[in-house]
């Protein structure tokens, strides 16, 4: 679905953000794009969306070059940016203006999503709060039935009930021919929802694994300090205990702690990736 080949990109000439980055993203999955501040998550999303142009390499989505920004290509994805602008019109006017650009737009579903998020349909967009606007955009993005939905910090500004509604809607709407890419710092908000974990660090994809593979290969536990043995791949203090990642030799079914996984990858990615390369 999305193919990134030898991508090189920099904002400044002497500070390269991505150098020969390669990434392949498939359909039918929810991808979590994680990285530290300034790692380039938003830039990578913008590059895929064709909002930035690579200096070298190419990005294609379903055969379309992203930088070509052909109308057909643009109508096949929807990008929910962290900071966005909505026109000063009512929800129905927005729908009237923008929905016809997306050939598979589902109006009924859109109003259902608004109901789920408890957004009044008569609202004027400029009078809504940041969180409400975000929920409106999420509803619109899902209703477009686009093949790819990019979400940059989608849970920022959402209240607690809305976060669970968000998780429910995302999980219910993923289909075999669609891909959702969520870039976020709020790891807890997407835990248990994503299918693939992608971690960017130092201009490279440091880690990209399917959640199922992670579960099979690694085990995540909270142990007392005395229980921590030598076979641990990574450990981190957690109140009076330690959170540890170890090789899942016993095929235990543990819940993936994405925050811990992220910290492990950032501190020593080789140790972890070796576990996946071994078989």
């Amino acid at each position: 679905m999305i193919e990134i080949k030898d991508l090189t990109f920099s904002y400044k000439r002497n500070s390269i953000l991505f150098k020969s980055l390669n990434l392949s993203v498939g359909a039918g999955q929810i991808h979590g794009l994680l990285g530290k501040n300034g790692a380039g998550k938003t830039t990578l999303l913008k590059l895929i969306a064709g909002l930035q142009y690579p200096q070298e390499g190419e990005i294609t989505i379903n055969g379309y070059l992203s930088k070509g920004r052909a109308p057909e290509y643009l109508s096949n994805y929807f990008y929910i940016a962290e900071e966005f602008n909505l026109p000063s019109v009512k929800i129905k006017s927005y729908l009237n203006i923008y929905a016809p650009f997306y050939k598979d737009f589902d109006k009924e579903a859109f109003f259902n999503y608004l109901d789920e998020f408890k957004i009044p349909k008569e609202n004027k967009l400029s009078k809504m709060s940041y969180g409400q606007k975000k929920k409106f955009l999420l509803s619109f993005g899902l209703a477009t039935n686009c093949k790819i939905l990019f979400m940059d910090e989608p849970t920022n500004g959402l209240d607690i009930p809305s976060k669970s509604t968000f998780r429910k809607l995302i999980a219910n709407n993923i289909t075999e021919d669609r891909a959702f890419i969520i870039s976020t710092h709020q790891i807890k908000d997407i835990e248990g929802m994503i299918d693939t974990v992608i971690i960017i660090e130092d201009g490279q994809i440091m880690f990209k694994q399917n959640v199922q593979d992670i579960s099979e290969k690694l085990s995540f536990k909270t142990l007392s300090t005395s229980e921590v043995s030598d076979g641990v791949l990574f450990s981190e203090d957690h109140v009076i205990n330690k959170r540890v990642i170890s090789v899942n030799n016993n095929k235990e079914d543990t819940l993936i702690d994405i925050e811990l996984l992220f910290n492990a990858v950032v501190s020593d990615s080789q140790k972890l990736t070796q576990q996946f390369n071994n078989n």
């Binding site: 969306a49 064709g50 909002l51 142009y53 920004r69 052909a70 109308p71 057909e72 643009l74 109508s75 929807f78 990008y79 940016a81 900071e83 966005f84 602008n85 026109p87 000063s88 019109v89 006017s93 009237n96 203006i97 923008y98 016809p100 650009f101 997306y102």
Partner: protein, 262 residues
């Protein structure tokens, strides 16, 4: 071809631009037209029909230029805000469709909406004025006259220049376009004068001779006569250059938009 220009998508973009910006544009036009109409009302009670029509013409031209230049000079405001420009870029339409929509709205769209609004206000004014004076009759303003058309023909290249300015300058484009426009006029006037002198040997046309020549005088006295055909050919050339300006600057604006997208 469909990837570059699709009529259905083009009209969707026009609809978007109209709904999102129509209200503020309408409010701007109404403000300017009301102010001028009020001035017309206050100064026209003692006038006659011919003067009133003439005044209507003048007002139409002044307001048309004032609002038209403002709209064109402030077009493409999406590019002056990061979030707005992202929304603009992600709109599923081609760059050409987005550009043509703005071009259409700042030329034909503006002409139609302004003329209708002006006509309505003018009718209202005439109604009030004629109710105070029996000598005046209620007439619908007709913009289809020589003066107005001549003015619109000059407006078109100016509109193109201001549209190109709107795509070139990120901050206060109207101000910078006015500045550069006057610089351009100076250079253009200078070149036109040089051209005229090159062909005729004089900068001033002093009197017409017979039907085929014009007498020229310099400060030192009579310089002789030049063929009218020769002068007309110079004027035609200048006229041609003027009307070439519009497409040239529209193309410049289009390339500037493409550059900004990158």
């Amino acid at each position: 071809m469909d990837a570059y220009l699709n009529l259905n998508r083009f009209f969707l973009v026009v609809k978007r631009d109209l709904i999102e910006n129509g209200r503020s544009a309408l409010f701007g036009m109404l403000t300017v037209i009301s102010i001028f109409s009020f001035i017309l009302l206050m100064t026209s009670f003692d006038t006659n029909q011919i003067l009133l029509t003439e005044l209507g013409n003048r007002l139409y031209i002044i307001e048309f230029w004032f609002i038209g230049v403002f709209f064109s000079g402030m077009a493409f405001r999406d590019f002056r805000n990061k979030e707005r420009s992202m929304a603009y870029l992600m709109l599923p339409a081609s760059s050409l469709e987005k550009f043509l929509s703005i071009l259409f709205l700042t030329t034909i769209g503006f002409f139609i909406s302004f003329t209708l609004l002006f006509g309505a206000f003018n009718l209202l004014n005439m109604g009030v004025i004629s109710s105070f004076s029996e000598a005046l009759s209620l007439e619908l303003y007709n913009p289809f006259n020589r003066d107005v058309w001549a003015s619109i023909m000059i407006f078109i290249p100016v509109q193109a220049i201001f549209l190109a300015g709107a795509t070139t300058f990120k901050k206060v484009p109207l101000f910078y376009t006015v500045l550069y426009f006057f610089l351009f006029l100076l250079i253009y006037g200078f070149l036109a004068t040089i051209l005229m002198k090159f062909y005729t040997g004089s900068l001033t046309i002093s009197e017409f001779g017979d039907n085929s020549s014009i007498s020229f005088y310099s400060s030192d006295g009579y310089m002789g006569e030049k063929s009218i055909d020769k002068i007309l050919s110079v004027q035609s050339f200048l006229f041609f250059i003027s009307y070439l300006l519009a497409p040239i600057f529209w193309v410049v604006a289009w390339f500037k938009i493409k550059e900004k997208e990158v």
